[in-house]
Symmetry: C2
Subunit: 377 residues, 2 copies
């Protein structure tokens, strides 16, 4: 422990060996001989490398990580820390990464089926890949690794729980700033700073602080507006620990003493959120969670005011599949970590959103965000 | 002005009309009938829209901005603020953005030449674009808008100068933390926070604070190492104002009193940096700036220790073209804003980097970063 709640040195290391095995089984089942991985969080998930320039060629018996001279020693250290030391060949190149594809990497892939991440690979880099691997059959494979990343391992859950704990503590300390005269921007800056001092490596996304009429804008960016007594204030934020970012929203009234209409709106959203959390369990349809939240708000007359989906998964990215919306297909699985965040937004009046992140279990779910709820902190 | 140095309301608005005209002339010269713009900073540069989901179809007489329901009112407001109100049609779609391409947008583009950003567009989105525009001739156009963005307008320079001023002030206040016992991570968190309080909307990139032996790693990420008396500390950071991010590096010794070897290393790098800045002017070859810096370090015996390029342009992205390296082709133009940042890194001993950002002029350059140099602050 340092001066904060978190020290990444205290975390259980992530073991990348089983991930690589899982990926190889997936390649076999998909009928692929190799996979060209370009999406940065997928490179990180597979092998642990966190540099800004990394490409992986994953084959049955060997893996190649391609980066540049800035990252040679970092790559060696991170692969070793993740249990893949000696199992991954590292190539550092000064030009295009595809130039590292030569010799046996090329000859052995002639006529072979090589998947690529079509939802990440640019057309320019596709052309370079095709030129570097003549004779290979390139196959679009969008979302293949993203699918493997959906159910979180215990070590990933530990990181998200620590991130959420930092966010909880930071918010508690921060509530002294929920007073008239503080600007949205200052409130956001102070909250972000507290998370950093408590051990977060970064925020998990740009903190939303939306006050007064701005609270009716779901993705409002904090500006120079000052809090006034009686304002609704939506605070949506998270901390990042070892790449994993938390997500939580609370809504307050500045100075306490909410109006009747504010209380009525808040209770509708809070009840919708509790109902959504209450219905979560393995096997429940994703769209059902959205429907449960939406029904509560419709019953209270706020159906039209709930203008976004109910939630999303989170991990190395703040928005991961599966989502929880009316259009979502599929069911909840044990080990998914999802947000439940209904909101209601009344232009000119203000808005309310309440959000927790929960781990799906066989019989229900376990929240990882714990800050108290209520309009009056 | 708020509590900080910067309030975006005080900035001269960016006028997007001339940019759109410049882009249209470029399309004509390139032989294109339209351009499909997907890279977020390019969408922003052309029309001023800053949402996370935006695509532009630019034609001779009309422009279409495609986003989703979260951003409808924001798009209208930002287009109006940028002088394009009424000149750009806005479509908000709930599904794939390409679904907004229908009716006359499609029929009028049959057999026409439509450029796309092949360095940004994924293969999956390319397929969707091709399906949405049957009969159109899609042409890869990497870097077309990026090229137009290279020479900065006065309004862009104003934003970068304000960002650099915030960074200068934050660093001056921050030097009280340059004492034994402070961790790299805390130093970085406090510096970032000062920039936010002074009016930065964000940092322009993840702040580098590299102390002791870590200073020999150019892209070191701040960790739990505490400063010791006599440590070299490299601080590389910037502030962001209205999308534009500054960049500056200083190197200090904790507690003052540098050793002979530290002073010798520092003076070599500082002299190389001054020589690089001194040679900058319109018409000078990009590679020449790199060569001038490298020669000084070679003369002092540190040629092998300078393991990266000399600089890069900056603006809406922290790394823009043109770069200043030994492989750079072309010459400096008036209005470019570039960094000059030679460094020397001695594993086990430490490293030094000194960096300023300067505006290229016809006869020389004007720095926008002004923090005092020297190992002892």
């Amino acid at each position: 422990m340092s001066n904060g709640l978190a020290d990444e040195g205290d975390l259980v290391p992530i073991d990348h060996g089983p991930r690589l095995e899982k990926l190889r089984r997936e390649l076999t089942e998909t009928g692929l001989d190799a996979l060209w991985v370009t999406k940065a969080v997928n490179v990180r998930w597979v092998c642990g490398f966190t540099g800004s320039n990394g490409q992986l060629l994953v084959r049955d018996e060997c893996v190649l990580l391609i980066s540049d001279g800035r990252y040679g020693s970092q790559a060696s250290a991170e692969l070793a820390a993740g249990g893949l030391g000696g199992l991954v060949e590292i190539a550092t190149v000064s030009g295009q990464p595809e130039s590292a594809l030569s010799g046996r990497w090329v000859s052995e892939l002639t006529t072979k089926r090589v998947g690529f991440e079509s939802d990440d690979l640019t057309t320019q880099r596709y052309e370079r890949l095709a030129a570097a691997l003549p004779g290979a059959q390139l196959q679009a494979q969008p979302g293949l690794i993203d699918g493997l990343r959906q159910v979180k391992e215990p070590a990933e859950r530990e990181r998200l729980e620590l991130a959420a704990k930092i966010a909880d503590h930071a918010l508690r300390e921060q509530l002294e700033f929920l007073v008239p005269g503080i600007t949205e921007r200052t409130f956001a800056a102070e909250l972000d700073h507290r998370m950093r001092l408590l051990g977060a490596e970064d925020v998990s996304f740009a903190t939303i602080v939306a006050s007064g009429e701005n609270s009716a804008i779901p993705h409002h960016r904090p500006g120079e507006r000052s809090f006034n007594r009686g304002d609704l204030v939506v605070v949506d934020f998270g901390a990042k620990v070892d790449g994993y970012g938390s997500d939580m929203t609370r809504t307050y009234v500045v100075g306490g003493d909410p109006s009747h209409d504010q209380t009525r709106l808040y209770e509708a959203v809070a009840d919708a959120q509790a109902a959504g959390v209450g219905c979560i369990a393995e096997g429940v349809r994703l769209a059902e969670v959205d429907s449960v939240c939406r029904s509560v708000l419709e019953d209270r007359g706020y159906g039209e005011a709930f203008i976004h989906g109910t939630g999303h998964s989170l991990g190395l990215e703040i928005h991961e599949q599966p989502m929880l919306s009316s259009r979502s297909v599929g069911t909840l699985r044990t080990g998914l970590i999802v947000t439940v965040e209904p909101g209601a937004y009344l232009p000119g009046f203000g808005g309310v959103r309440v959000e927790d992140s929960v781990v799906v279990t066989s019989g229900g779910c376990q929240p990882i965000t714990h800050a108290p709820k209520g309009l009056t902190p």
